[in-house]
Symmetry: C2
Subunit: 464 residues, 2 copies
């Protein structure tokens, strides 16, 4: 009976709701920061523990390759000409594989825009019919060495950046960023969207291509390292990256572009979009992580990607196999007139930046993003600090000023995620759930548990 | 006798050297963070305290004007044509007034460079003779609405930026930044220095002037606000400011420059010098602070400037009167081959940025600078936090991400400096003490006490 007569001081473990009830009744309670493991089968953890020396060795090998990457922008080309396996009837999309029937609204909208852009359909109705007809095939960008933000649509005629990992010899591809507002990658398909894409193909692309050829190469790794010292995490904030890229490219654009007014318009377009660098930071991340693929016994995550329906993960040690689960809806700052009810679940290949130790993993370098969704600079530091708990290494090049230039937490180890229950922290844009609308906000979220639980289970079960 | 038999635990107040002695002998000792007031005459503090309501009201008025400043780059011109009171036989210099006889090496070197640049001397020997002949007059930049980094030399033919405070109507001037290495402002005068200055007059200046005219105005205040979110404090770190200025100006340079190759070279020059923005942030600060001048009874500092011999201060409430003391030698990272023994005492008008709540006052936004001289990100935060103790306001526009976007400490109150003994924290470049050498390092320092003690004494004594 003493329990009911003395003042209670409670330490609560697990569900926070219990603590709130106690607090509401005036009882002092603290929440223990305990998270249960993602996976309940203890035998799998035992198996992983037994093989841990081997797994750690494999992870070191994968991380050495990833950290040694030298991603440089070496050229541009048309998707059909340069992306391996690209075809005229093929559309690449963000995230793990998904059929038209299961695709979310903004991905459908983006595909409709691409079909009109390619001249394969004249109206949204025609495009919708063709898209569903079975004549058009859909495959993940990631399975073609490419990455795309949000819907991540790449069709045959689209110009792409070519980013070469000069240390490992592999190559990654990404389209040119369209800017904000009504754009294909957020599922919009109005005439202005198609017109802009055409201008980007006919004017922007040749100018940037010639400038890059003139320069030979643009060192993207050094640029990202600098951008992290300038308030970017190169996912949701790319103002510094865009500025540095602009400075590098502008004199070359002037020297190679025949018409000064065209050169000025091209530079105005880049200058007008502080996210222009995003697609480059994504291709840099893809080129870096692909070098860490296919290391036997490695539990390092080499892909996190979302198609707006599912969130997918790939590991270094498990080849091209996708581990998926439902994509969550991000916490976000919504544009006026929109709420979370309008938001599509998380979408895009841009989580490749987090996979590479950037984005949400480097958010301590970009506190402005956290403030954007109501947090503080110390929250930003906390998010990055938590990621050190689930990563296999620290970057030797990408460093965070606020942490005395400590390297960013890099290389998610799925064993650590499964053990600690700490989930990767991701910055993201938010698309309207209906096709044709566009962006409705920007925010942050934790990755969903299922893909990591499944990846760990498969990894541990198949460990020899 | 107990004192010599028990273990000592010492709290030391004042000179830290005493504590070091104890520590060296294995005695536990902590240093109390007490600083004695700068001024020992208690009657002056009593006088200031009695008038404090009036002084605070005056300071609010001065700070309202300073914070409301709208400094924009509105044009360029040749010093002789645009700087009030400029003459062919006049050379403007950094800091408080100083005769040729008392000038430090780098300022003499800069003047010799300017005389050769103006065609008034052919060799360094000729220039030195002319400089000392009495035919050339010397006056502070600050007394002509201008500011100059390091030696701060402005001669009649030099092009200058025109920065207009659109809220108050006043104007400030600064030259174009030459870049690093062997440059006039660090006292170098070799042929390459003069050649570069000529190119800056004949090629860079017309291109930038026409581009600014095309744009109408460039909003420098918004640019500095952004740069603080991007790792700059716009004194010793200007990479973001330079990037943002570059982005704003480049398309206009292309549109107004007749020859594309010239446009490319002009942009290459700006791109090649991450300090290009410094002179603009100085002119912005000067244009802002001049609006706060001549408020009766205000103890706000409106100028801190060094001529390499003396450090000078002006207050809002004491008109054009300079309060001076010896300039200290900065703690610095020295370039290979140089030591503190090579360093000239602190020099330049660039402390106008600190006076305006930027530079060392905003160093929490730019931890890279502190790391540069062996400190940590938390040191950077501490330096900025200390400055809140001696300032009259917080900026409404210039904000620091790491402090949850708190406004920078702005408007040094000389009464607070005198009372607390806390001295303004300043970022700076370091020139070789001999003419003709150039930059030997970069570092940080606290302003010397004497100018502030003298300013306070005069201020308090003359309070009616």
């Amino acid at each position: 009976m003493g329990l009911f007569e003395t003042e209670l001081k409670v330490v609560n473990i697990g569900l926070e709701a219990f603590m709130q009830g106690l607090r509401d009744s005036g009882v002092k309670a603290v929440q223990a920061k305990f998270k249960p493991p993602l996976v309940s089968d203890a035998s799998l953890f035992a198996k992983a523990a037994k093989a841990s020396a081997r797994v750690e060795k494999a992870n070191r090998k994968a991380m050495e390759r990833i950290l040694a990457a030298k991603p440089a922008l070496t050229g541009m080309g048309i998707a059909l000409d340069v992306i391996p396996g690209m075809r005229k009837d093929l559309i690449l999309h963000a995230g793990p594989p998904v059929s038209w029937g299961r695709m979310c609204g903004p991905m459908r909208g983006g595909i409709m825009a691409a079909l009109m852009y390619e001249g394969l359909a004249k109206t949204p109705e025609e495009a919708g019919k063709l898209a569903a007809s079975g004549k058009i095939k859909y495959e993940p960008c990631h399975e073609h060495g490419a990455v795309g933000p949000m819907a991540g649509i790449i069709s045959a005629s689209m110009p792409v950046f070519i980013v070469k990992n000069e240390a490992h010899g592999n190559t990654a591809y990404a389209t040119q960023n369209e800017g904000l507002g009504k754009v294909l990658r957020y599922g919009a398909y109005s005439p202005e969207v198609i017109e802009r894409l055409k201008w980007m193909e006919k004017v922007l692309y040749p100018a940037l291509r010639d400038a890059i050829e003139f320069l030979g190469r643009v060192d993207l790794k050094a640029m990202v390292a600098q951008a992290l010292h300038m308030g970017d995490e190169v996912h949701n904030r790319n103002r510094a990256g865009t500025s540095l890229f602009y400075r590098a490219i502008a004199p070359a654009v002037i020297r190679t572009c025949k018409d000064p007014e065209t050169a000025a318009k091209v530079l105005d377009f880049v200058n007008g979009n502080d996210h222009f660098f995003l697609n480059l930071s994504m291709a840099l991340s893809k080129a870096s992580l692909d070098a860490g693929r296919d290391v036997k016994d490695s539990s390092v995550v080499v892909v996190m990607a979302r198609n707006g329906t599912e969130f997918g993960v790939q590991l270094s040690g498990t080849g091209g196999k996708w581990f998926t689960g439902p994509a969550p809806v991000p916490d976000a700052l919504y544009f006026p007139g929109y709420t979370k009810a309008d938001a599509n679940p998380d979408i895009g290949d841009s989580a490749i930046t987090e996979t590479n130790g950037l984005g949400g993993f480097a958010i301590a370098a970009a506190p402005a993003i956290v403030q954007f969704v109501g947090g503080s600079a110390s929250d930003a530091v906390s998010y990055t600090m938590a990621m050190y708990g689930i990563t296999a290494a620290e970057s030797n090049i990408y460093k965070i000023p606020a942490l005395d230039f400590r390297g960013t937490p890099t290389g998610i180890d799925v064993v650590k995620v499964a053990k600690t229950g700490i989930l990767p922290f991701i910055d993201t844009g938010v698309a309207h759930k209906d096709p044709g609308v566009g962006q409705v906000g920007a925010g942050v979220l934790s990755a969903p548990p299922e893909p990591f639980a499944r990846a760990f289970e498969h990894f541990a079960r198949t460990l020899k």
